[in-house]
Structures are given as structure tokens and as C-alpha cells.
């Protein structure tokens, strides 16, 4: 069914958890200071679903790692950069956290991460991976556990090649992440771009774009439309009767929004670093425990939050967080069992990892994703070359 990555670790959940617990308690026993983590994420307003999943995944990870060594302070950013900066100040100045994490959106991460690292604290991104922080603007205290933003789009380009797409109709909202998305796709896509369109950020009616798709000569569509925009597009596209194949990054097909899209998404291929049925023990154990704890299937955001917690726990077990250099080395080692299988950091402290092609399937009453095959193996982002960090 699912091809197993040959190099994937074969540890059982029990072993993984036991080890994490052991390491965490060992950390305290070693006299390492407690690690204080500030988690800022979007808990109110439009993007709250993603933030809730990151938080829940992270807290589950902390819990499984044994909560003795890590203390978490959660704050809401309301999806406003200035609020994010304010609560970041609170966490740094008032709560005196050692590590910051949690932000969902790139524009918020760009507001918070540089200020955090400039104060000698770590920022470990569980989601947003803007190019600015991966290339020339990389920082020794900035880590990304999810992906550089272009990754899923590059994987989508590779997937389009595998699908046999020759002339692509591509669109994304007109904002930096959207512009990066189209560039990422074009980087790996080998066919020709038939039409390229920028839609308005937050646009919910795609009738005009769908009409253009119908009129075009394209043989496939790549799109990036996160959140509500994706729900709207997929429903309207399904109703349009156009049968060009779709491909896109997971953001329009993830567990947080699939129930709202319904059968309009069924069968569509999309790309991410993880899928809920990924065939490795750590992932299986994570999905089971997340379901048991929260009563829903975890999204990639939850998975990223979970992995972030595991990474921090693994470093805390090795080094004292007050010893910044040692702790950084421990983070760089990425000595944890990722739910996505292989995981290591590149020189810019962003993941080098496989991206999967996933397919939306109906499992009973629930829509979810199943991993189909690897889209790109061991992918490192292109910005890493511009990063001057040396370990």
C-alpha cells in the first residue's frame, strides 16, 4: 500500500515514549535548568483552527516527553503582527522564556523571530518558513521544524511532472507567500506555464478564475489557496464541471478544512511532509494518541507542533538551555524520532526531508489524506546556499 521509506526508524511507540520520558527526567536529574517555552499562536479569529492544532500537537508532545523538564506558556496572537510582537515581548521580558515557537503565519513569524533571536533566545518555527529567514537572513538561533515555505510547492511541481502535466494553469493569492508558491512550483515543474494569475488575498469567489480555466488550453491546475480560500475554490471548481486534474500543497486539503470541503476534494493529489497514515511507528503512535486526547485526526499543523516539542525535548535532554551554544548544538543534532521518518537540519537549520504526494480519500464518514508516494526525496530548500551559518 504505502511505500515505506527504507531508512525510516523502526522504533515502537512504547520505546520512543519511554526514551523521551527517560531523557526528560534525566535532564532534570542532571541539574539542567527547566526549559521555558513561549508558544504564540493564532487562537482567535479566522486562522484559529491552525493555531489550535499547533498548540494541541505541541502540548501533546510535551506531555509525552514528560512534563518535568519543559514548561509552556501559551499566548494568542489574534493573527495580528503587532499583537504577536506584544505577546512576544511579554514572554521574553516578563515570563523570561528560553525558547519561542508557535506562530502559524509567515508575516507574524517575520515580526517576532528576528527580535527573539536578536535577544539571544531561540525561535523554533513549527510552521511558517519564509525565505527571508532561510537564506541571507538565517540566524544561528532560528530553527524551522516544518519546512521552508517553498518546499510543498516544489513537491507539487514534481508531482505535476509525475502526473504528466504539460501545460499548467497556476494561481495563488497576491501576497508574498503566494508569490513564493508560484515560484516554488515553477522551480520544479518541467512543463510550460499556460496561465499565471494572482487572486486577491481572502478572495472567496473564484468564478472569474474558473471561467478562465475553462477557456484555457491547460491540461492541469496548480493552486495555492490556504484556509477558507481553498474551501471556496475547491467547492466552486467541483461544481464547474471542469475535469482538469488539480495539484497543490496540503494547505487546502488538510484535516483542519477537509470536513468543510467535503467530496469536492476527494481524489485530489496534494503535497506535504507528512500524512496521517504514514507508515512509521512514531507517526502511528502520534495519530493514535492525538485521537485519544482530542477526538480528531491530527492535521499537519498538529504533527509539526508535535515534532517541535519532541525536538525541544531531545535538546533539553542533552544540554542546559542556559548554555546557548551547547543547546544549539543539541538542537542541530535533531536527535529525535520524527513522525515523518527521516529528519535532519541543513546548514540554515531548516529541514532536509522527503515530501509526500497525498491523496484525499473518504474513510468511513471522514475525509482524510493517504500517503501515495514520495514526491521529492531529501529536499533541501534553495535558500540554504545563501545562508552563511557554519556548524
Amino acid at each position: 500500500m504505502i511505500s515505506m521509506n527504507g531508512k525510516a526508524a523502526l522504533k515502537t511507540l512504547g520505546a520512543a515514549t519511554a526514551m523521551a520520558l527517560a531523557l526528560a527526567s534525566a535532564a532534570v536529574a542532571d541539574g539542567h535548568s527547566k526549559v521555558k517555552v513561549g508558544l504564540i499562536t493564532t487562537l482567535t479569529g479566522g486562522g484559529a483552527g491552525l493555531g489550535v492544532d499547533i498548540r494541541d500537537g505541541f502540548l501533546l508532545g510535551v506531555k509525552q516527553a514528560g512534563d518535568g523538564g519543559i514548561e509552556v506558556v501559551v499566548e494568542d496572537d489574534q493573527r495580528k503582527p503587532d499583537v504577536a510582537v506584544k505577546v512576544a515581548d511579554k514572554l521574553l521580558q516578563s515570563d523570561k522564556v528560553d525558547i519561542m515557537t508557535g506562530l502559524v503565519f509567515s508575516n507574524l513569524a517575520l515580526a517576532v523571530a528576528p527580535a527573539t533571536t536578536a535577544q539571544g533566545k531561540f525561535y523554533i518555527s513549527p510552521n511558517a518558513g519564509p525565505a527571508q529567514l532561510a537564506g541571507r537572513g538565517c540566524h544561528e538561533n532560528y530553527f524551522n521544524v516544518a519546512w521552508q515555505n517553498d518546499g510543498p510547492h516544489e513537491a507539487a511541481g514534481a508531482t505535476a511532472n509525475k502526473m504528466g502535466m504539460k501545460k499548467a494553469f497556476i494561481f495563488a493569492p497576491n501576497y508574498p507567500a503566494g508569490q513564493d508558491a508560484l515560484n516554488g512550483f515553477k522551480r520544479t515543474f518541467e512543463g510550460e506555464i499556460e496561465t499565471e494569475i494572482f487572486t486577491k488575498l481572502g478572495q472567496t469567489d473564484y468564478a472569474a478564475e474558473i471561467a478562465q480555466m475553462r477557456a484555457s488550453d491547460a491540461d492541469g491546475i496548480f493552486f495555492f489557496a490556504p484556509g477558507g480560500m481553498g474551501i471556496s475554490f475547491l467547492k466552486q471548481y467541483a461544481d464547474s464541471g471542469i475535469d482538469l486534474p488539480l495539484v497543490g500543497p496540503a494547505f487546502s486539503f488538510d484535516q483542519t478544512i477537509l470536513p468543510a470541503v467535503g467530496d469536492a476534494a476527494e481524489g485530489v493529489l496534494n503535497t506535504a511532509q507528512w500524512a496521517p497514515d504514514l507508515d512509521n511507528d512514531a507517526s502511528r503512535a502520534f495519530v493514535e494518541s492525538f485521537k485519544a486526547e482530542y477526538g480528531r485526526i491530527p492535521s499537519i499543523y498538529a504533527q509539526q507542533g508535535f515534532d517541535t516539542a519532541l525536538l525541544i525535548a531531545s535538546a533539553a535532554a542533552k544540554a542546559d538551555v542556559k548554555d546557548t551554544d551547547a543547546f544549539r548544538d543539541a538542537l542541530r543534532a535533531a536527535d529525535f524520532t520524527s513522525t515523518r521518518g527521516d529528519f535532519r537540519f541543513g546548514n540554515n537549520q531548516h529541514p532536509i526531508q522527503d515530501f509526500w504526494v497525498r491523496k484525499v480519500v473518504k474513510d468511513g464518514d471522514i475525509y482524510t489524506n493517504t500517503a501515495v508516494e514520495i514526491a521529492i526525496e531529501d529536499r533541501q530548500d534553495v535558500y540554504a546556499a545563501e545562508c552563511k551559518l557554519e556548524w
Partner: protein, 305 residues
């Protein structure tokens, strides 16, 4: 761009306009009769969509869902009118703005409290799915065509309601002279509640109709609200006719703008720059339209001086 595509885009603009009309009609009616600016109108749009999604989820019936959206929005509207809004009629616009802004905060987060942070599912019913062939070979979404139809029926219904019925006569009297209508022995507070509930129901219906092809989520109402304001400013406050004209003008401008502008810029710029500049300008186009109307007709196309 060929003619068929252009016609299809005009239909899309029309459909978008009709949807805006359903929002703007309620807003303009409420302003015309009660002199109230209601920012929470977008919340009623959202409530309609959530009610429809919830009922469609329980019963599986889209018609019941539409009825639920009308009923829920009208009920919430009437409730809000009785508890909060009627204290605002004699207040300054500033108080009205802030009180209804407060209502937005309460409704948005209250909805999230009840329904959770994730978007809800609401789909087009099977009997409205797919496309039909129009003369000339245009394949057009049956559902979007239905929205245009419903919008036009509502528009005609509103005109008839206001021009032919007793309630309509009272509404017109109320627009012209608020004291007069009280003197005529009409129960003015009941009339106001009715008008507010009617406006709310239209917003709720609009939310449900749109919810089937978009995302039913918290905060879905405010972008539409702001567009509805632009519609009213262009059409003239208090005028149903103006709301219809303004809505269709905004719908067409926005839809045609975002498809045509990048093409036009493409004629003399390199493609990716044309896409960027064209899209940036398209996002501002309806506001530029509004500014243009203001320069020549400060009270809107159908507004009274």
C-alpha cells in the same frame, strides 16, 4: 479574450453583484427607515451561513437549511433590535458604529465558542449541482444561475413590498417622516423590529447561499459588509433601486477588473509584472469607482440630496 468568456465573466459579475445586493438591500433599508448604520450586518450574514450549515448537517436538506438561515438571522436580528438596536435610533452615528462594532466582537467569538474554530461544511444540493448550457454554448453553473434568479426575485419582491403593501406604505412613510408615522397610530417599534428582522433575514439568506460555494467560517461577513458599504455609497443610501444598481456595478467592476486588467497591462508590460500590477490595481478598483461616483454625485447614483 473571446466573446463567450467575456459573457461568462459578465454573468459572474452579475452573480457577485446579486449576492452583494442581498446584503446591501437590508443595510440600506435599515438606514432608510431607522437612520441606523449597522456594522453587525456582516454577523447576520455569518449567522445565516452557520445556521444553514448546521441544519443541512442534521437534516441533509438544503431547502430546510435556507429556511433555517432566514429564520435564524431574522430571530437574532429581532432579538438584537429589541435588546440593543432600538436604544440607538436616537443616538449619534458614532454610538451606532461602536455599539454595532461591539456586536461584531460578541457574535464572531460567540459563534466560534459554539461551533469551534474549524470551518463548517455546507454543500450545493445535488439537484443544483453541475452546469447547464446557455445559448451560444456557454457552460454555466446552475447554482450560480439560481443565485442570480433568487436575487432578482428578492429585488422584485422588495419593490412590490414597498410600493404595493400596507407594510411598505408604512416603511415609506417612516422614511419620509418618522414623527408622522407615529402620529398615524402605527406601532412604530413593531415596524422597526420588523424592518430590522427583514434586513437580517436577507443577510442570513445571502450568507447561506454563498456558504454553499464558499467557506463557512467565523469572520466571513466583514469583507462582504465593507463591499456592501461601497455598494450603498455608490447607489445612494436608503434606495433599494440604488442598492441594486450599485451592487451590480460593483460586481461587474470587480469581476471584469480582475480578469481584464492583467490582460490590458500585459499589452505593454512583461507578463509577470503585468500580473502583479494588474492584480494590485484590480484590488483597488471598486474603491476607485466609489471615489469617482463621489466626485460627481456625493449622494450616490439614486440618493436624495
Amino acid at each position: 479574450m473571446d466573446l463567450l468568456l467575456l459573457i461568462e465573466q459578465i454573468l459572474n459579475g452579475l452573480q457577485f453583484g446579486v449576492m452583494l445586493f442581498l446584503m446591501a438591500a437590508g443595510l440600506t433599508l435599515i438606514f432608510g427607515v431607522m437612520g441606523l448604520i449597522n456594522l453587525a450586518h456582516g454577523s447576520l450574514f455569518m449567522i445565516g451561513a452557520f445556521a444553514a450549515a448546521a441544519v443541512a448537517g442534521w437534516t441533509g436538506s438544503f431547502l430546510l437549511a435556507l429556511i433555517a438561515s432566514l429564520a435564524a438571522a431574522a430571530m437574532v436580528g429581532a432579538l438584537v433590535e429589541i435588546t440593543v438596536i432600538r436604544r440607538l435610533y436616537d443616538r449619534e452615528h458614532l454610538d451606532q458604529v461602536l455599539a454595532t462594532f461591539a456586536l461584531i466582537l460578541i457574535f464572531s467569538e460567540g459563534t466560534r465558542w459554539i461551533f469551534g474554530s474549524f470551518p463548517l461544511f455546507l454543500d450545493i444540493p445535488a439537484w443544483l449541482k453541475g452546469t447547464i448550457s446557455l445559448p451560444g454554448g456557454i457552460q454555466y453553473s446552475l447554482y450560480r444561475l439560481t443565485i442570480i434568479g433568487i436575487g432578482l426575485v428578492v429585488a422584485v419582491g422588495l419593490f412590490l413590498l414597498i410600493s404595493k403593501t400596507r407594510v411598505g406604505m408604512r416603511i415609506r412613510a417612516g422614511e419620509n417622516d418618522r414623527e408622522m408615522i407615529g402620529a398615524l397610530g402605527v406601532d412604530i417599534s413593531a415596524l422597526y423590529t420588523l424592518v430590522f428582522a427583514l434586513g437580517a433575514a436577507l443577510a442570513g439568506l445571502s450568507g447561506a447561499l454563498v456558504g454553499a460555494i464558499q467557506s463557512v467560517e467565523v469572520g466571513m461577513g466583514e469583507p462582504v459588509l465593507i463591499l456592501a458599504f461601497v455598494v450603498i455609497v455608490i447607489g445612494g443610501i436608503g434606495s433599494i433601486k440604488g442598492a441594486l444598481a450599485g451592487a451590480i456595478l460593483v460586481g461587474l467592476t470587480d469581476t471584469l477588473g480582475r480578469t481584464l486588467l492583467p490582460v490590458i497591462f500585459g499589452a505593454f508590460m512583461e507578463p509577470s509584472a503585468a500580473t502583479t500590477v494588474g492584480s494590485a490595481l484590480a484590488s483597488m478598483l471598486i474603491y476607485i469607482l466609489m471615489a469617482g461616483v463621489l466626485i460627481f454625485r456625493p449622494t450616490g447614483l439614486f440618493g436624495r440630496a
